[in-house]
């Protein structure tokens, strides 16, 4: 309860700060505050924010399922990497801008990206559930394997750690509705990846809150023995939850690659650049609520979008410093607004024979 209150007071403080900024910006339109405000108000920023939110929000929702079921999936970053890379690779191989079996090759690439991510999640699930591996270590392994595998494959196909360019999804424009102010360009004139994100967030919420599977996921993470004695196979529930995390992360990675990037740089931290870890931060911040995670991803992606736009205005923004804001925020949230309580049995393999 106290956690909730302090979260709320933090939100109020943020709102006040925002109001002051807006007021200052309106009064002094030529100051840097005014510029920030105009960036904040620009449709371009909003659209960019939505697209940048795709990998974060979807990976976060996937992570919620896995962790709620008791399997901490710290390998989300790896899932984003493999899905983004394979989506680009397949689209490129099939031919960008062309169609196969009446479906744009971008969609084939998208589908393969999701499948590859799901297969990785299956591997991770088997390692954690079947062989009772330490989940943190196995998750790190998934990340490191993906980090090596994407540039490895890229070099074979493209002779470089970076892939060729396949362009991005065309925006889907809904006639009439797209003319509606604000909502129009936000929701009715945007990429399919954004639609996927919005639909997935609602679907994720519904699945968790309204279906029996959602109940089982919660019980599996809080008290697996209770679920087991109620006659539900804990392992199956956990497998399903981890596979779902793979599907959601795959939607995020493939959607990000084909909706925003159009190409994939596999060097260093890759183009994913830690968004999988921000996703973990986001769902902890949102206390495992899918819609909350969506909102949180807007916050972090918005920061990124504003920072990018400010640079185009010629401001010498300390980019690197701004990039650290999501991470610092997460630490502050963890410390100040109470311990986001992990599910009781998170991180432990379930052994039915143990009392």
């Amino acid at each position: 309860m106290s956690d909730l209150l302090s979260r709320r007071s933090a939100a109020v403080a943020l709102a006040v700060l925002a109001a002051v900024t807006i007021a200052a910006g309106l009064v002094f339109p030529d100051s840097w505050v005014g510029t920030v405000l105009s960036v904040l108000a620009s449709p371009g920023t909003h659209t960019a924010m939505l697209r940048l939110a795709v990998p974060i929000a979807l990976a976060a929702i996937g992570g919620i399922f896995a962790e709620k079921s008791g399997v901490i999936n710290i390998g989300l970053e790896g899932l984003l990497i493999v899905s983004a890379f394979s989506a680009i690779l397949v689209t490129f191989r099939l031919g960008a801008g062309e169609s196969t079996a009446l479906l744009s090759n971008h969609w084939w690439g998208f589908a393969v990206g999701v499948i590859v991510s799901t297969l990785f999640a299956l591997l991770f699930a088997a390692v954690c559930i079947e062989f009772e591996a330490d989940q943190i270590i196995a998750g790190l392994a998934v990340w490191l394997i993906a980090l090596g595998l994407a540039p490895f494959a890229s070099r074979i196909v493209f002779d470089s750690p970076n892939t060729g360019n396949v362009g991005t999804f065309d925006a889907v424009t809904v006639p009439v509705l797209s003319e509606v102010p604000v909502l129009g360009y936000l929701l009715f004139d945007t990429g399919p990846d954004v639609y996927v994100m919005l639909i997935a967030a609602v679907a994720g919420w519904y699945l968790l809150a309204r279906t029996r599977f959602g109940r089982w996921v919660e019980a599996s993470g809080e008290n697996p023995k209770a679920l087991d004695t109620a006659g539900v196979d804990v392992r199956k529930v956990r497998y399903a939850a981890v596979l779902l995390s793979g599907i959601f992360a795959g939607l995020g990675g493939a959607g990000f690659a084909l909706g925003q990037l159009g190409t994939f740089a596999g060097g260093g931290e890759t183009d994913i650049g830690g968004r999988g870890f921000i996703a973990i931060a986001t769902y902890l911040f949102a206390n495992y609520h899918p819609i909350g995670a969506l909102a949180g991803s807007f916050l972090f992606a918005g920061l990124d979008a504003v920072q990018i736009r400010l640079q185009t205005y010629g401001y010498a923004v300390p980019t690197e410093l701004i990039r650290t804001i999501p991470y610092v925020t997460v630490i502050a949230v963890l410390v100040l607004f109470g311990k986001t309580r992990l599910p009781e049995a998170a991180g432990e393999p379930y052994d039915p024979d143990e009392d």
């Binding site: 009772e132 394997i145 260093g268 650290t324």
Partner: protein, 407 residues
């Protein structure tokens, strides 16, 4: 007779240290096999002039050749003529071994205290920058030559330890006094370290004569000295003294864990925090202390990376800290085991370069193989199952906590 041998092997398989070594070895073999399959299969998608033709499909890569280059290339091809111990590849391998040993010890110490320090990378970044900055600053007041070496090298290493220790103490304190999970905070702090150090670099410490994001070079006499005659040439960026220091740290940490009150308390905290509290361990202070020690070791890795390899701090820091996690896990978080594991990963790292020059296989293979090793080490149950299948070992003996006989 066969029964007796199987019984003996079975008992050995159960014995914990032997089991751990066996599992590490099995994980290595499994990772190499899977990596080999990956190499072979991906060769089917590469294009080449000549390869192995199977059913009309050309496979360009020969896994055996790749592993030959990986493992022997890292040592400078000892089986071929003209081999000399002071070769470039072996120097690279040993340099990586040294740096990975520090990073591995950093992770291992935290692990033994029950803390998962994923932040060694960040601690290394921060410690390394502080080393470079401190040495650059102090060099103004210190004469050159041997005196400079004697003053600046220990000072630089100390600065790295302080910087890394401080940066490790942060997640320790956040956990002890704020209840923040160290896995999450250390991951976050890695990103923060990158952002803050590169901001600091462009703000103050950038080398004005270079377009690369890096600090100015420290004076040559402030780099880790090499031993004349028997040591490696300074051009190879490796010093036996550094390796000796790493070995000394390994032994020292092993001794500390086994023999001292602090080490005992750290180990109890790691396996059973409630028992540590009961036994009078000040848990919060122990959390901060072990994270500080862990961070300091990470900072030392950064210091040696600066003072031995580059002579300056570069914004593009290699992922030694993450590889340190792999080293520590493979070593079962045992300080002495860290030496062997660090050498293995040193071979992988250096062998990656041989692969790049001698074959067409992308050197990123090494990253995949390291990831696979971690994955396999993380699942000892997998190898136990296989072991049981082949050896027909009895189930584990009943433990006090297990079974249903306690009600």
């Amino acid at each position: 007779m066969r029964d007796r041998i199987e019984g003996l092997i079975g008992r050995l398989v159960r014995a914990s240290i032997v089991e751990r070594v066996a599992i590490a070895a099995a994980a290595l073999v499994a990772a190499v096999v899977v990596g080999g399959v990956l190499v072979f299969v991906s060769g089917g998608f590469a294009s080449c002039a000549s390869g192995l033709d199977l059913a009309g499909w050309t496979f360009c890569y020969n896994p055996m050749q790749v592993y030959y280059e990986l493992f022997l290339g890292a040592l400078g091809h000892p089986l071929e003529g003209g081999w000399h111990v002071h070769n470039f590849s072996l120097a690279t391998t040993l340099r990586e071994t040294t740096l990975l040993a520090f990073a591995g010890l950093s992770v291992a110490v935290a692990f033994r205290a029950g803390l998962f320090n994923i932040g060694t990378q960040g601690q290394l970044v921060v410690g390394g920058l502080l080393t470079a900055v401190t040495v650059l600053f102090a060099a103004r007041f210190v004469p050159g030559g041997a005196v400079g070496t004697l003053v600046l090298v220990p000072l630089g290493v100390l600065a790295g330890a302080v910087g890394g220790g401080f940066y490790g103490a942060i997640p320790g304190a956040l956990k002890a006094y704020g209840g923040a999970n160290e896995v999450i905070t250390t991951i976050m702090l890695n990103f923060v370290a990158v952002g803050v150090t590169s901001t600091l670099l462009s703000w103050r410490f950038q080398d004005p004569e270079s377009a690369n994001p890096q600090t100015r070079a420290v004076p040559e006499y402030a780099e880790i000295p090499t031993i004349p005659v028997i040591g490696y040439s300074p051009r190879l960026d490796f010093s036996l003294l550094a390796l000796g220091f790493a070995v000394a740290l390994m032994v020292g940490l092993a001794w500390m864990l086994a023999r001292t009150s602090f080490g005992y308390e750290l180990r109890v905290s790691g396996v059973q925090p409630e028992a540590a509290r009961y036994g009078g361990v000040a848990e919060k202070r122990m959390t901060v202390a072990s994270m500080t020690l862990s961070g300091a070791l990470g900072g030392i890795a950064g210091a040696f990376w600066v003072l031995m390899q580059h002579g300056r701090w570069l914004e593009n820091v290699p992922s030694l800290g993450f590889d340190g996690i792999a080293v520590s896990i493979l070593a079962g978080n045992n300080p002495l085991g860290v030496g062997a594991a660090a050498f293995l990963f040193g071979v992988l790292s250096s062998g990656g370069r041989s692969i790049n020059t001698a074959t067409d296989v992308p050197p990123e293979l090494v990253g995949v193989v390291s990831g696979l090793i971690i994955l396999f080490v993380a699942m000892p149950e997998f190898f136990r199952m296989i072991g049981r299948q082949f050896l027909d070992v009895d189930e584990e003996p009943g433990r006090g906590t297990g079974g249903g006989a306690d009600e």
